[in-house]
């Protein structure tokens, strides 16, 4: 089932800045869709249009079958957003934030208390419930903002760089929680600069560059389309420490086998380095960086 559909979407800001141009894609139910791109590429603009916070200038976008421009009120009760650089109110506790957002979204007091407890437990915030937000670490503050969105139990969740400032364990707990949400049927669109995060989470990804689609597809396709394959590093023979290691890019299983056999024969250490999304990303947007540099 298609949850998000974007057709030839474009956005030019009132000042004349063109932020998006001709972007089209769709997101299926239960999918995690990652938006990647350099700073200012148009990721936040695209996310904000889909979250009904910003009006597009051309094209159409549908969330849960409703047009974001014509019928935003039908979309809003079913979505939630974690905005980029959102901050908690420093003089309030995490419990206040989450409970009040639950109440504002229409839950009864009893339901709101129950839901607040559940979300705080899930995100490891319960033990910090009565501290002031000013006394929380950066990671806990970010988790609090995420909790304020999750408390709505949305069908579609939009997250703009949600794990920024989180430590590796905090990031993993957010990833786990996002996977749990999709298992329950939620659909997630997130922007990130962490390519390992996209690699770990994305069912599909869109790389935007200067407001245009630079790549659309799966992580594996991104690596394949850009020719970024597995690398094999063959260390120099023992006793010849000054020689540089050989970096090889085998194209077939036979080539891999031949390299391994040679390593064994010559008693050389052979290391396999899988292709990373980061390399693919740099290849995809690198062209425009080089053009800019010249």
């Amino acid at each position: 089932m298609e949850v998000v559909r974007v057709e030839d979407l474009g956005k030019t800001y009132p000042g004349g800045t063109k932020a998006l141009e001709g972007v089209s894609f769709s997101i299926q139910k239960g999918e995690i869709f990652c938006l990647l791109g350099r700073n200012g590429a148009g990721k936040t603009t695209l996310l904000r249009i889909l979250a009904t916070q910003l009006k597009p200038t051309v094209g159409r976008a549908f969330v849960l079958g409703h047009d974001v421009l014509q019928d935003p009120k039908a979309i809003r009760p079913h979505i939630a957003v974690v905005p980029q650089e959102a901050r908690p109110q420093m003089l309030l506790s995490p419990y206040d934030h989450i409970l009040y957002f639950c109440l504002i979204r229409g839950r009864s007091r009893a339901e709101a208390r129950e839901r607040t407890r559940k979300v705080m437990d899930d995100l490891g915030l319960w033990e910090h419930r009565d501290k002031l937000a000013s006394d929380l670490s950066g990671g806990l503050r970010q988790r609090l903002i995420i909790a304020m969105a999750l408390v709505a139990d949305p069908e579609v969740l939009f997250l703009d760089e949600p794990t920024i400032g989180l430590d590796p364990l905090g990031r993993r707990s957010v990833w786990h929680m996002l996977r749990e949400l999709t298992r329950k049927g939620a659909t997630i669109l997130l922007t990130t600069h962490y390519l390992d995060e996209a690699e770990m989470l994305a069912d599909d990804l869109l790389i935007v560059d200067k407001g245009r689609t630079a790549f659309l597809g799966t992580v594996e396709a991104a690596k394949g389309d850009t020719g970024v394959g597995m690398r094999v590093i063959v260390e120099p023979p023992a006793g010849n420490g000054t020689a540089p290691p050989e970096v090889l890019e085998p194209r077939s299983a036979e080539e891999v086998l031949a390299i391994v056999e040679r390593g064994l024969r010559e008693k050389r250490k052979v290391t396999f380095k899988p292709a990373s999304l980061e390399e693919a990303f740099i290849k995809i947007v690198g062209g425009s960086i080089e053009v800019e540099a010249t």
Partner: protein, 247 residues
């Protein structure tokens, strides 16, 4: 309708919560506009002090209206709570009412103290109190609109803090709100400027309804017309400036 009122109530409470959690700060802030009354009471006569007390009530409402700009700015640009609430079933009207009313909650203790003092200072009527509150509320509505226009237009935190404070001085402490308009009779230009400021008209009406001054009927009518016109004009300005969904 009931759910919209509930949304507005919780938005207002959430916005006022930092102050409600700290009653000492709440008392200091809510009594701020009453400080000049103490000096007038010490250095002038009791009649002037009562006039300034009425003026302080009017100003408390106007300050809370102006300072809605801070709520608007910080919820939109700093905390980004507005973006989170746009992506929910919350209506823009509930949001606007909630943020506006949160200021009134903060102002309430000071206003109640002032009303008690006014009742103790001499005979007064229920109608007088009602019309004093009504005048202040009309001014408050106009200045809430000003606050929304400022908060939505401001792009940095420094301006969001300084602009309402500068306007508070210009609209509160300079014009004849604490002191009688008659003091400006010797300065016709200053008096003409004062008549352009909405707080002057609100204070004149409030003092009149409280029986502290006598003004002709045409000046009463002018005062109401000015306040209503100001509120309508500022409402139009705010509707052009403050956006729920960014253009």
């Amino acid at each position: 309708m009931k759910s919209r009122l509930r949304e507005a109530l919780y938005i207002g409470l959430f916005d006022a919560l930092p102050l409600l959690r700290d009653p000492m700060l709440l008392v200091v802030i809510s009594l701020f506009s009453f400080l000049p009354v103490i000096f007038i009471f010490v250095f002038a006569d009791q009649k002037s002090a009562v006039q300034s007390l009425v003026g302080a009530i009017v100003l408390t409402f106007s300050f809370t209206g102006l300072f809605a700009s801070q709520s608007v700015y910080f919820n939109k640009q700093w905390f980004r709570f507005q973006d989170m609430l746009v992506a929910s079933k919350v209506s823009p009207a509930s949001y606007a009412v909630g943020l506006s009313v949160s200021g009134l909650v903060v102002a309430l203790p000071g206003v109640l103290v002032a009303l008690v003092l006014l009742l103790l200072s001499g005979p007064t009527s229920v109608v007088g109190i009602f019309l004093l509150i009504a005048t202040s509320l009309i001014l408050w509505i106009g200045l809430v609109f000003v606050g929304f226009a400022i908060g939505a237009t401001t792009k940095n935190a420094r301006r969001a803090n300084s602009i309402p404070q500068v306007l508070s001085i210009a609209m509160g402490f300079l014009p004849p709100v604490y002191y009688p308009l008659a003091r400006l009779d010797a300065y016709p230009i200053a008096k003409a400027f004062a008549m352009l400021i909405p707080t002057t008209h609100a204070a004149q009406l409030a003092k009149y309804y409280f029986g502290l001054i006598v003004i002709p009927d045409w000046e009463v009518a002018l005062g109401w017309a000015y306040l209503l016109g100001f509120a309508a004009l500022m409402g139009f300005l705010a509707s052009r400036r403050a956006h729920w969904v960014d253009p």
